[in-house]
């Protein structure tokens, strides 16, 4: 289990939930955005072009109406040039003119010129008639124009600075029919112009080539003259339109509103008809479409956010549970169950985690049990006991065991004299050396006290030829410890090592209480082995008769006769195992210490 500090360090910087949320959100919103933006752009372009087309159509229609108005007047004027100027035709011509005035309210005055260009009749609504004035009008631009192009349109002039007049001249089919020059009051065009409506608030107006306002729904603009700022704005608009070619123009109209305008020519008098629509109105469909797209985008984004939120939750929820579960299990809470029921791999994973936790729990329990056993059993035996689930092996029963005792000679005095660190250090080396051997021979260590150990063979797990094994082990122990003793002697620590073995029936089993129990053997053989060990001098391995029977062939034995041992009424035959040990120094040690080896 890693410490909390390390755990915190490996915690992800950005939560998985955030990443999923952003990814899902982007996955929905980005296509939406792209789609919306491209739709808006293309929609705008389409709308603009359709608006342009519509305005142009309206402009052409307005131009046609104006042209129609002028054509009507010209047609009516034609009536007056159908008769030739001959003798006696004056009255007839006069009649024609009077009826013309009656018929066409737009005509203010008419001048009839004969085939030679001489003025023959002048009739006006506000002046007295002039008959046969004799004025030569052949150089009048009106007359010249009419002669060349049948219908001549003069420039728009402002009578008295405010009334728009235009001269129209019409020539007859034959030169002798003469020419009619009429002055038209263009205010009547106003009726035509003001009837033209485009959309909600669009209208039409007419400018001549030079930019002067000829007709406008607000007639007062026309009458105001050239230096009016409104008229100047319209002139500006016209210039923009001309510069733009066939495109619609944008600019300020007479009322200073921003408009989109289209232009169509009126060929006869060389005027231009304009149709304007306030930009706000014209672009309304575009604006609305944009708003719609924007709203849709917003709704889509909201939806995407919600979707992303829920999906991310669903994804990361189980993962968070797994993470927590792993944490709990890692902390040792093996009974923590991860509950995931999404029906997918995550649920499977959770199940695996739970199984793992159960197994970890079992394994941990087992490890603890083994650890407990290993305190006295050799690792192999502990595993065996634990693995085969043979706890029953540890139960009390009688068995033929080999008991081995060993301890250090002269340790008591040494430990009294030496510093505590030296004592512990020496013991450490001693146990390390012995421990390795014990483990290898799979002997059961039942207890150790200070410098002495008690070992069992053939319990709790039976082993083949326990006595032989025991003696072999003892021999190895002696060899190992003796080399240690040599080293210690160099440091000035004088100790010896003796081993005693005995074999016999004993009761083996666990004794103790809950939480602290030890495995041990109870019986005569235990005491025997202990006394035999006590009798062993430094470097000796003493064995009893029973052991001797078993190992007689394998090892060279030296019978030491019967020894009186405390606790035994009769003497016990003891044998010594011959070993190849450097025996040098034993006598010295014995002499130096001057001690009884028998402790």
């Amino acid at each position: 289990m890693s410490p909390p500090a390390a755990r915190a360090a490996t915690r992800p910087r950005r939560p998985l939930y955030q990443k999923y949320f952003i990814a899902l959100f982007a996955a929905v919103v980005v296509p939406l955005l792209i789609n919306g933006a491209s739709e808006a752009w293309f929609g705008y372009r389409d709308q603009r072009s359709s608006l342009s087309q519509q305005l142009h159509a309206e402009a052409r229609s307005a131009a046609a109406k104006i042209q129609g108005f002028l054509d009507d007047i010209a047609d009516q004027l034609q009536w007056t040039v159908q008769l030739p100027w001959r003798e006696g035709m004056d009255e007839r011509h006069r009649f024609d003119v009077l009826r013309l005035l009656r018929q066409v309210p737009a005509v203010l005055e008419v001048t009839l010129v004969d085939g030679n260009g001489i003025e023959r009749l002048h009739v006006s609504r506000v002046e007295t008639d002039v008959v046969n004035s004799g004025v030569d009008r052949s150089n009048d631009p009106a007359a010249i124009g009419a002669r060349t192009s049948r219908i001549w349109y003069g420039p728009v002039t402002l009578y008295a600075g405010s009334e728009p007049h235009m001269t129209v001249a019409v020539a007859g089919a034959r030169e002798i029919n003469g020419i009619t020059i009429a002055v038209i009051n263009l205010k009547l065009i106003w009726d035509v112009i003001s009837a033209i409506h485009v959309g909600q608030s669009g209208d039409a107006f007419v400018l001549d080539r030079s930019g002067r306002l000829v007709a406008h729904p607000d007639i007062s603009l026309v009458l105001r003259g050239d230096d009016d700022p409104a008229a100047a704005r319209l002139k500006q608009l016209q210039q923009v339109a001309i510069a733009g070619g066939g495109e619609t123009a944008e600019g300020s109209n007479a009322e200073s509103r921003w408009v989109i305008a289209a232009m169509a020519p009126i060929p006869g008098p060389n005027w231009m008809a304009f149709v304007e629509q306030p930009a706000s109105e014209a672009l309304t469909p575009i604006r609305e479409a944009l708003w719609r797209t924007g709203l849709l985008l917003l709704v889509g984004a909201l939806f995407a956010a919600m979707l992303a939120y829920f999906l991310a939750r669903r994804m990361t929820g189980p993962i968070a549970l797994l993470e927590k579960g792993a944490e709990e299990i890692g902390a040792g809470h093996f009974d923590h169950k991860i509950e995931i029921s999404t029906g997918d791999e995550l649920q499977g994973l959770a199940q695996r985690f739970n199984d793992m936790a159960v197994e970890l729990a079992v394994s941990q329990e087992r490890s603890e049990r083994i650890a407990r056993l290993k305190r006295f059993l050799s690792p192999q035996v502990a595993e065996l006991v634990e693995g085969s689930d043979q706890e029953a092996l540890l139960d009390s029963h009688r068995a033929e065991v080999v008991v081995i005792f060993c301890d250090l000679r002269g340790f008591t005095s040494f430990s009294g004299a030496a510093a505590p660190e030296e004592v512990m250090g020496l013991l450490q080396e001693y146990y390390e050396a012995l421990g390795a051997i014990i483990t290898r021979y799979e002997a059961t260590l039942t207890c150790f006290m200070g410098d002495g150990l008690m070992l069992l063979l053939n319990a709790p797990v039976p082993c083949p030829e326990p006595a032989l094994r025991g003696v072999r082990m003892a021999a190895e122990m002696q060899a190992s410890v003796q080399s240690l003793i040599t080293r210690w002697r160099a440091r000035g620590h004088i100790v010896g090592f003796g081993v005693g073995l005995a074999k016999g029936q004993a009761t083996v089993g666990r004794i103790g209480y809950e939480g602290r129990s030890d495995y041990t053997a109870i019986g005569n053989v235990v005491n025997l082995a202990q006394r035999i060990c006590a009798a062993a001098e430094d470097g000796q391995i003493l064995i009893d008769a029973t052991v001797t029977e078993e190992v007689g062939d394998a090892f060279a034995l030296a019978p030491l006769g019967t020894r009186p041992l405390r606790g035994f009424a009769e003497g016990v035959p003891v044998f010594s195992v011959k070993q190849d040990l450097p025996r040098a120094g034993f006598e010295e040690r014995a002499q130096t210490m001057g001690e009884r080896w028998i402790t």
Partner: protein, 160 residues
């Protein structure tokens, strides 16, 4: 010429009439009538020296008293001409002047512009576009005058 001098533009009408009359070789006499007393005096003066025709300048005062003037003239076989059709309806021989209906419509336009905030000084002055010629053939018959075809042709309205 019978006219009320205070009528706006009256002096123009008078000057124009006198100039045209001079061109046509007609002598004119001018009788200003501000009120009924002056009118009575003018009519009395006219009675002493009957003209060939009377031109009544159209204005509110003369409108109100047109019956009197026209009856006075008709009883003396003097044709009356004026500017507004109402005079023809009351017995004047013929009237020629701007169409009041059209003028009133334009008047409404000006009122609208001023009410929406335009300054009167900014609004242009408009001349009349439509003119009306009204003939009273009944009066002509009574006066024993034959109206020439050309004039009849030009008439916008004829009162039989």
């Amino acid at each position: 010429m019978v006219a009320r001098p205070e009528h706006p533009g009256q002096h123009l009408e008078r000057a124009y009439s006198e100039a045209t009359a001079q061109r046509l070789g007609i002598t004119t006499e001018y009788f200003p009538t501000r009120n009924r007393d002056e009118l009575t005096a003018a009519l009395a003066a006219i009675a002493e020296n009957p003209p060939q025709a009377i031109s009544v300048f159209a204005d509110v005062f003369t409108m109100q008293n047109r019956e009197e003037i026209i009856d006075f003239a008709t009883s003396r076989h003097i044709p009356v001409i004026s500017g507004w059709p109402e005079f023809a309806q009351s017995g004047a021989l013929c009237t020629y002047g701007p169409s009041l209906d059209a003028s009133y419509r334009r008047l409404a336009y000006y009122v609208d512009r001023i009410l929406t905030g335009a300054k009167p000084a900014d609004l242009p002055i408009e001349r009349p576009t439509k003119f009306e010629l009204v003939l009273n053939l009944k009066a002509a018959k009574a006066l024993g005058i034959t109206i020439p075809q050309s004039v009849e042709t030009r008439a916008d309205r004829v009162i039989e």
